[in-house]
């Protein structure tokens, strides 16, 4: 018997949508506008927008500004997603970004206003022929 595929790759081990029972990690920043502005620049400089789109509104990767989270939307969950990566394509940036830089990206994402609704349809506005 070989190793089951689910644990064969280190990056295949999903943390899932739930946080561990303890040790929610906290940001050392105040998440103020200056942190968010720095984070915006880093978001672009690290090519995050290449997958998540300009303004983090989604492209091949999902939107980060619609209030929907696959792996949790707290500061700590976002940090973990960026630092360790996620199994459906999110690379682990922990190796090439300092924790401080990651926290600034977290501040940027958290500073984005959440929409009250995410419309998925626009065709009601069409006129019938």
């Amino acid at each position: 018997m070989g190793t089951p595929p689910s644990v064969r790759y280190p990056n295949h081990v999903a943390a899932g949508g739930n946080q561990p029972p303890s040790s929610e990690i906290k940001t050392p920043l105040k998440n103020d506008s200056s942190d968010a502005a720095d984070g915006s620049k880093i978001f672009s400089a690290m090519n995050c927008d290449g997958c998540h789109g300009g303004g983090a509104t989604g492209w091949v990767g999902p939107s980060l500004v619609d209030g929907r989270w696959r792996y949790g939307g707290t500061d700590g969950a976002l940090f973990q997603s960026i630092f360790y990566g996620r199994p459906r394509g999110m690379p682990a940036y922990g190796g090439i970004m300092s924790p401080g830089a990651i926290w600034k990206v977290v501040a940027y994402i958290r500073a984005q206003p959440l929409p009250s609704d995410v419309p998925t349809e626009r065709w009601q506005q069409e006129k019938r022929p």
């Binding site: 090519n47 989604g58 619609d66 696959r70 199994p87 459906r88 995410v118 998925t120 626009r122 065709w123």
Partner: protein, 581 residues
């Protein structure tokens, strides 16, 4: 309208392409044959009876990603490769309900999903010497025993850490398996490789740019010029090392000339000002020897690409009269909106005419081979937001939707897109394994009220013969048959048949999801002609269609600006369909 040369064509057909006329009823390679014509000599289905086509069988692949490419039929078995995680199904066509013979589930590194630019698609397999050979998304080629489903070899060909993924369909010429990577959006150093069919060993690697030694080029020997190292001198500094030129499309082969033909993709990054120069051989067709990879000739469709006009679309090989002379040609519908007819021995440009709405160039100078640019449409950071560029970077035709050629009608059949774009470039830094793009490129519908059209093209004269306008871009491949019927699918989930001579619509069926795959025609175990097609919207349309994926509550997408109601007609979901009379 082909009266002048049709008699000659028939002579050519009989003498020059006997395999196509003696159709064995199988479909063993992506483009049907070495010439990649996607022409089936089966003739039971005709314009007279196509209205009676009905679904014979279907099968959910269990995978939601974009179902590009085509099934294979070898003997009485149908083979289907899914998008990631690249499951290979073998269906027994001799038994009721076509049950599975076996299914092969490879190990594929899921990290590759984040390195694939535009959905985790796969463009299919090739059959040769008892093996089904295909690429896994994570940079591996596998050979599977066609009878048993046992893995025979597995070779790493690409490095996802450098942004390379491998969704293209391998091609087999003789005993060489030819493969290439995607990654034009990740700043890869593009290449093709030749593997030994028996063992999977990599026998040669030929880069598409860089020094001659790495391009396997011998200046002066081929017809691509005598200057040395133009793969370096047409770039600035070492920008060629991250210059893209992926090979994610289709390959064809002329056994008499012993040349394989393939297109290369865009230069990286999209921001032109980070790579001054012609950027050879991005956006080009390259002719190489399959045995050792040697470059024999090359031609660049879009020098110093300003618009992401990859040239990965198929090179269809045909012999017909151009300007009064019988020519061995290759025909190519480029993303840049021009259809090219080239002499396939030399690369000489014989015909280059727009098949779609084109604003970036006024034409192609046939002598120099260079496009005549509209300089107001060239892009780069210093040029700001450049508007009204047609076609969009989806292409006048997508390379993902391969055309077909009928030697009976002398016509080429292809999906086209009628989209334009604005293009605002930005500076970008390459971080290996992350996107290296540097542009924001929103689309708008082109003029005319239809975003797509399925057309028939006369490649000897460079003109459209007929067209069927479609509301949405047309992104499926096509197959044309000796019965005189051509098939294609639409993004809103229809599979359609038309009369190959007149373009008259004959039949359509709703297939459950948008079509981005390519149809095939084969003879079943009962001797009847069938048509197979994948449904399963995806690829770029995973990014562009809005809310078409419902299995992930964390990824709910707003409508696309230019096609806000596409999700009204389709969701994701892969199904293999077979239709027959």
């Amino acid at each position: 309208m082909h009266r002048a040369y049709m008699p000659l064509l028939f002579v050519t057909v009989l003498q020059g392409t006997p395999p196509a006329m003696q159709d064995d009823g199988q479909w063993t390679m992506p483009g049907k044959n070495y010439a990649a014509t996607r022409f089936s000599a089966l003739s039971q289905i005709t314009p007279a009876n196509a209205a009676k086509l009905r679904p014979i069988w279907n099968f959910s692949t269990g995978v939601l990603g974009g179902h590009e490419g085509q099934p294979l039929v070898v003997g009485t078995t149908m083979y289907v490769v899914t998008p990631f995680p690249n499951v290979l199904y073998a269906f027994d066509l001799t038994r009721e309900g076509y049950p599975l013979k076996w299914k092969y589930r490879p190990e594929v590194n899921p990290a590759a999903v984040g390195i694939a630019c535009c959905d985790a698609i796969n463009r299919g397999a090739v059959y040769a010497d008892g093996k089904i050979v295909y690429n896994l998304l994570d940079g591996h080629t596998v050979a599977v025993d066609a009878q048993s489903g046992r893995e025979l070899w597995k070779t790493q060909i690409a490095d996802i850490g450098q942004g390379e993924t491998t969704p293209m369909a391998p091609f087999v010429a003789g005993n060489r398996v030819i493969v290439g990577p995607s990654g034009g959006e990740f700043g890869i150093y593009g290449w093709v490789k030749g593997l030994d069919l028996a063992t999977g060993k990599v026998l040669w690697t030929a880069h598409n740019m860089g020094p001659d030694s790495l391009m396997l080029a011998q200046p002066g020997r081929g017809s691509f010029g005598s200057a040395p190292n133009i793969g370096v001198s047409t770039w600035t500094g070492d920008s060629w090392k991250r210059g893209g030129a992926p090979v994610w499309g289709w390959i064809s082969y002329d056994p008499q000339l012993d040349l394989i033909y393939f297109g290369t993709g865009n230069p990286s990054p999209y921001n032109t000002e980070q790579r001054p120069g012609e950027n050879k051989w991005t956006n080009s067709v390259l002719a190489r020897r399959p045995s050792n990879g040697a470059l024999v000739w090359a031609y660049q469709f879009t020098p110093h690409d300003s618009w992401d006009f990859d040239s990965n679309a198929e090179m269809i090989l045909a012999d017909f009269v151009v300007a009064g002379r019988m020519r061995k040609v290759l025909v190519h519908f480029d993303k840049n909106g021009f259809a090219y007819t080239l002499d396939r021995a030399t690369g000489e440009v014989l015909v280059a005419e727009p098949f779609a709405n084109v604003t970036w160039a006024k034409g192609v100078n046939r002598t120099s081979g260079l496009p005549i640019l509209d300089t107001t449409k060239t892009t780069g950071v210093s040029r700001g937001n450049v508007k009204g560029i047609c076609p969009s970077l989806e292409g006048g035709k997508s390379p993902a939707s391969p055309a077909a050629y009928s030697p009976r009608t002398g016509l080429f059949y292809t999906a086209t897109n009628n989209l334009c774009m604005n293009f605002e470039a930005s500076e970008v830094t390459r971080i290996p394994g992350t996107p290296y793009i540097g542009a924001n490129t929103p689309y708008v519908a082109g003029p005319g009220g239809n975003m797509g059209e399925f057309i028939a093209w006369d490649a000897a004269r460079g003109r459209k013969v007929w067209g069927i306008k479609e509301k949405y871009p047309v992104w499926s491949g096509s197959v044309v048959t000796a019965g005189g019927v051509v098939f294609y699918g639409t993004l809103d989930g229809w599979f359609k048949a038309a009369d190959a001579r007149t373009g008259k619509p004959l039949w359509k069926a709703k297939v459950g999801s948008g079509v981005v795959g390519a149809p095939i025609s084969f003879r079943g175990a009962d001797g009847k002609q069938y048509i197979a097609i994948y449904a399963g919207i995806g690829g770029d349309w995973f990014l562009l269609s809005g809310d078409v994926r419902s299995d992930d509550p964390a990824d709910v997408r707003p409508p696309a600006d230019f096609a806000p109601d596409l999700a009204r007609h389709t969701s994701q979901g892969g199904t293999v369909w077979i239709f027959g009379l």
